[in-house]
């Protein structure tokens, strides 16, 4: 307990030092626009990712930093060691004490972060989520990497084309609680209701928990359980790579196709050897950049997160805030298709 207290004291100290530095640099030109929040210097924008050591997250942070630098703000990048909501709650608590101007979060849990994010908003901090959403009550706006509807539908269209519109397919997801994966899978199911897919049968949704060993066991179980399986759709980076490895080791290229959402570097081998004819992902740098620009617009007061508001998102052009269930969101674009043609240039990127 003592340790924890001294930790918070340290952070508090660091925060006051930071704001002090800031006010020295930029106090004259920018007044206290946000008023109740933060110091009166350059604005601080914090980003809290799911966990450390995730290359996807690194790229997203890179884009976020780029956007904030363009707007002349200070950047704080944080992430817990493990992808847990508990870890993120601690970090957000620290950021509230630090009096940042904006927090961008990629939620590890859709609901669990609500109390702490509400507390942040009550303290005048502009809270938004990107990539993995938190519930509408705990954010002003969500920045969606790509339309969940498009992601779900695109994957079904692709897999149906690969198996010539006939056969059993299975989904290998992350955890059963992952909010974005669950939403995509719902849209996949909606797309499957169309008459042209009546011969495509979704037999199972398996969960590999984004762990290599578990995803491997789950893939092997799918192959055993459904001997007539034609395709695996895995909308998660660890899952699709683990499935690619299993299919490669068992020499099933051409017999069972693999598609979904994956990292080009992880999937290069399996796209080149034919196990996966194509897979999808958006550009994480753009996601971070778009989220950064949205955060800037929120802090500068250009938008408040209400439906129909528009703002200029730097190099991504003008974006409009649209409906997302009970809340609102900014949508960035369609997922990008990776196949044999372009994988060689993308595998070096991320």
């Amino acid at each position: 307990m003592k340790k924890l207290l001294s930790k918070f004291a340290m952070i508090g100290l660091a925060a006051t030092m930071l704001t002090a530095c800031g006010s020295q640099e930029a106090a004259p030109e920018q007044g206290a626009a946000a008023g109740d929040s933060g110091g009166d210097g350059a604005k601080t924008y914090a980003m809290v990712f799911k966990n450390t050591g995730n290359p996807y997250g690194e790229k997203m942070m890179e884009g976020f930093e780029e956007a904030i630098k363009e707007a002349g703000g200070e950047v704080i990048l944080r992430a817990p060691d493990q992808p847990t909501a508990e870890g993120q709650i601690q970090i957000v608590e620290q950021l509230i004490t630090q009096k940042v101007d904006s927090i961008l979060i990629t939620g590890n849990d859709i609901d669990a972060l609500q109390p702490v994010l509400k507390k942040a908003m009550d303290a005048g901090i502009k809270v938004l989520s990107a990539d993995a959403a938190v519930n509408p009550q705990s954010r002003l706006v969500h920045v969606n990497q790509a339309d969940p509807e498009l992601i779900g539908r695109t994957q079904i269209q692709a897999v149906s084309e690969m198996i010539n519109g006939e056969g059993q397919i299975a989904v290998l997801s992350a955890t059963s609680q992952a909010s974005n994966q669950n939403l995509w899978i719902e849209w996949m199911k909606k797309e499957l209701e169309k008459p042209e897919y009546e011969k495509v049968e979704l037999v199972k949704v398996a969960y590999g928990d984004d762990l290599r060993d578990k995803s491997t066991s789950e893939t092997e179980a799918l192959l055993l359980q459904y001997p007539d399986l034609k395709a695996i759709v895995s909308p998660t980076t660890v899952g699709i790579a683990a499935a690619g490895k299993v299919l490669t080791d068992k020499g099933l290229e051409g017999k069972i196709v693999l598609t979904g959402l994956g990292l080009p570097s992880e999937m290069a081998t399996y796209i080149e050897n034919g196990v996966s004819p194509a897979m999808f992902l958006w550009n994480p740098i753009d996601v971070g950049y778009g989220a950064g620009m949205t955060a800037v617009a929120l802090v500068e007061g250009e938008i408040t997160g209400k439906l129909g508001e528009k703002f200029e998102a730097g190099r991504l052009g003008e974006k409009e805030i649209v409906e997302d269930g009970e809340g609102t969101q900014v949508m960035l674009g369609e997922p990008f298709r990776f196949d044999k043609e372009n994988i060689a240039e993308w595998k070096e990127v991320y």
């Binding site: 450390t52 050591g53 059963s176 290599r212 359980q225 683990a242």
Partner: protein
């Protein structure tokens, strides 16, 4: 003369029979074995493809790394210690070796394995030094080193993953190739188990490990160098983790910062299931093998049984609990029998 011959011939078979029964009843892990057989029957009735050669091969291959780590953990637990850092050691060794082979693609796979083992041994020696020489409690020393090694791993990798296209085919094939018709991972595990069996049961150092764990004071009095034993035990654990790191990265053809994070608890669970005492002093190789296999069967069998993912973890936990309880009850019975026989 004739009488005695007859006497002998009638007595002999009875004695033999009794000793056989005694041998079975002395087998403390009987409860666990019975439970595993029962579990296999249940899974098999739910899904007939469980007991096929293909699936069993997959299962054994998937369990090989766990069983190697469980062996090292058993030695640590016997000395009344614990090692929480093995997941991080594994990841660190795997990452460094993966980076090396991604640069020097011509590196011999055997050298890669030796290199990973060496990295692990270095990590193990550091922990052994902290525990044996400085006298820090093992749980604290290894908890600290767990975070240090994990952090080091992120630093070394710079947050980047090493993906399969960066690894040479010879390295990835460590996990897929076969030696004498057996998958290399399984072959390595078998070799390690044979060496360990000899080391633990037939060498002086091996027996001293048990002595240190069951009664440190008398071990000291009888002239056993405790520092040396602890240093050896943690180095072995480190070496096995380093080796497992290479095997892990080769098997999944990917090295990432959070490789095997939390895996130490699975390994400890395998040991406890196998009847290794957390309080130190007791633990058998046969038990650890069974413990690792029970976890392997659960990982393989639960998805096959079409259990809802929401229930899977709870069921896994309950099965582990039931297995430990059954094993404890049977063990108690066996021990009581042994005591009874001693009285007669």
């Amino acid at each position: 003369m004739a009488e005695s011959v007859i006497d002998n011939s009638t007595e002999l078979p009875v004695e033999k029979k009794a000793s056989k029964l005694a041998a079975i009843s002395k087998f403390r892990e009987l409860g666990l074995l019975a439970f595993i057989i029962l579990l296999c029957i249940v899974v098999q009735t739910k899904n007939a493809s469980f007991l096929t050669i293909g699936n069993l091969t997959d299962m054994i291959t998937n369990t090989a790394i766990l069983s190697i780590l469980a062996l090292g953990m058993m030695l640590v637990l016997i000395t009344r210690g614990i090692d929480l850092s093995i997941g991080s050691t594994l990841a660190l060794s795997g990452m460094i070796v993966a980076q090396t082979v991604s640069i020097y693609s011509g590196l011999n796979p055997v050298l890669a394995i030796l290199m990973g083992t060496a990295i692990g041994i270095v990590c193990g020696i550091v922990i052994g030094f902290l525990v044996a020489k400085i006298g820090i409690l093992p749980i604290i020393a290894t908890l600290a080193m767990m975070n240090i090694f994990r952090g080091l791993n992120y630093t070394v990798s710079d947050g980047q993953w090493i993906s399969s296209y960066q690894m040479p085919a010879s390295f990835v094939s460590i996990a897929t190739s076969k030696i004498l018709g057996i998958n290399t991972l399984v072959f390595i595990a078998i070799v390690i188990y044979i060496i360990a069996f000899y080391f633990i049961n037939h060498t002086r150092t091996g027996r001293q490990i048990y002595a240190v764990g069951s009664n440190p004071e008398s071990a000291k009095v009888s002239g056993i160098n405790q520092t040396k034993i602890l240093l050896i035990v943690y180095s072995i654990m480190g070496g096995l983790s380093g080796l497992s790191g290479v095997l892990w990265v080769s098997k999944f053809a990917s090295a990432q910062g959070d490789t095997a994070s939390g895996y130490e608890l699975t390994v400890i669970a395998a040991c406890i299931l196998g009847g290794v005492s957390i309080a130190g002093g007791s633990g058998k190789i046969s038990g650890v093998i069974l413990g690792a296999f029970l976890l392997g069967i659960l990982n393989n069998g639960l998805p096959l049984m079409n259990v809802s993912p929401f229930w899977q973890m709870a069921i896994q936990g309950s099965i582990i609990l039931i297995a430990v309880i059954i094993n404890a009850l049977v063990k108690r019975g066996v021990d009581r029998n042994n005591l009874l026989r001693r009285k007669i």
